[in-house]
């Protein structure tokens, strides 16, 4: 999926931080790194792309279509968004349910939902935690579970806000692999991060927050 913005602008009410005239395009299957200092508006831009914040001007185009009127649910099926604080993103009581429940709502049979969930869990080395409560997981575990939740939907694009924060080197490598594989399937990936090593290993292009605004 291609994501692009057209003169996107935003300001936190009443007169807080503002983004002005952001223009950028991500091709289908491209992995793009978005970098910039703390407080430069990376998370804000990510939230705008996913519809968590409404732009004050300009537009977000998904596959060339203005997404302003899409419901969050519809956007969520197309874009997977990893929150900077992954704990806020988990909602079911147990790890397994957090992955099976959304699938069941989409009409997938419980057995199949469970198989798919377990596959992903074991890929991210979380299979031993299937019955654990989501709130008792460590930060790195929560992060990986949240990423599993995103991958389940096979979204056209992923916006990952600091996906490597709190991951050990081994789990980072697993994430790298998952990202590359998704990109090969045509998923566009926006990596918001301060982890330059990870950027060099995974991104084809890097844009700095400063360069985006006119």
């Amino acid at each position: 999926m291609t994501i692009s913005t057209l003169n996107l602008s935003f300001q936190y009410p009443p007169s807080g931080f503002r983004l002005r005239g952001v223009n950028f395009t991500m091709a289908a299957g491209e992995t793009l790194a978005l970098t910039g200092p703390n407080g430069s508006g990376k998370t804000t831009l990510g939230k705008l792309l996913c519809g968590l914040l409404r732009p004050c001007g300009g537009a977000v185009l998904l596959d060339g279509e203005n997404a302003a009127r899409w419901s969050l649910g519809r956007r969520g099926q197309r874009i997977g968004y990893l929150f900077q604080e992954p704990a806020r993103q988990l909602f079911a009581p147990t790890v397994l349910e957090d992955l099976t429940f959304p699938q069941e709502l989409q009409g997938i049979a419980p057995e199949e939902a469970q198989t798919r969930a377990m596959e992903l869990l074991s890929r991210f080395e979380l299979d031993n935690f299937a019955q654990r409560g989501t709130l008792t997981l460590s930060r790195g575990e929560q992060q990986r579970l949240a990423i599993c939740g995103l991958l389940l939907n096979k979204p056209g694009a992923l916006v990952l806000d600091e996906p490597t924060t709190g991951l050990d080197p081994r789990r980072k490598a697993i994430l790298s692999n998952a990202i590359r594989e998704a990109a090969k399937d045509g998923t566009s990936i926006l990596l918001i991060t301060h982890d330059m090593e990870f950027v060099q290993d995974n991104a084809q292009r890097e844009v700095k927050m400063e360069e985006l605004q006119c």
Partner: protein, 256 residues
Amino acid sequence: MLNKNRAVGAAFLPPAHKKPPAYHNPDPRVAFLFVFLLSTAGVLLRDALLLTPVLLSAVAAAICARAPVGQVLKRLRGLWIMLLSVTALQTLFSGNILHGLLVGAAVLERLVILMLGGAVLAAWPGHALVQGMLQLRLPYQLAFMVSAGLRFVPQFGECFRDSLTAIQLRGVDLRRLKLKVRLRIYTWLLMPTVAMGVSRAKSTAMAMELRGFGAHEKRGSYAPLRMQAKDWLAFAGILFWAAGLAAGIILWRTYA
């Protein structure tokens, strides 16, 4: 002890020509008594009819105290929208429609009573409430925890809204779901919301302690509260109101 502390802090007191801070008048302890009785009544009574006078008193008190009702409602938005839908469901599924309406009305009234109680307390600044609790001989830690807890109330709403957003971002269109499934999601969400709120309050309390909070055995008070004649009058009025209400309810139960 209190007087000595006042002398120490005297340099920091507002100049004499300025009006004393509003929270002295009326004393927050009067509000404690009222809200305590109010919420007790709200929790104990189950009958929509009997809850009505309690609700009316709560409304009257909120108006008198100039309680920031709108602000409280706004902060708890996620929570009350959810509770309203649960109430609507309870009404729908309780079989007999008239009975269902009465049950729904009772739940709603109770909810509004508790919220108004909270709003009445919110009319006093947090430090006045802590001071009031202290002078009621509650341990400082507890008083502080309660006031810290109050500060986290808006975060409950926020956590709740976050989780709702998270579900939708996972590709679930909430508006298209059946009520039953939606209800299940709401109950799920309530748990992590409460758990997260409680754990935040706990970790704040611990962080405060690590930074030396409560290291000294005795603390003085900068602005001790004193009950004025007006406060005692209000106190008596509230007790009178409670007694009247209780008598009325007992009479109603025996004869109606």
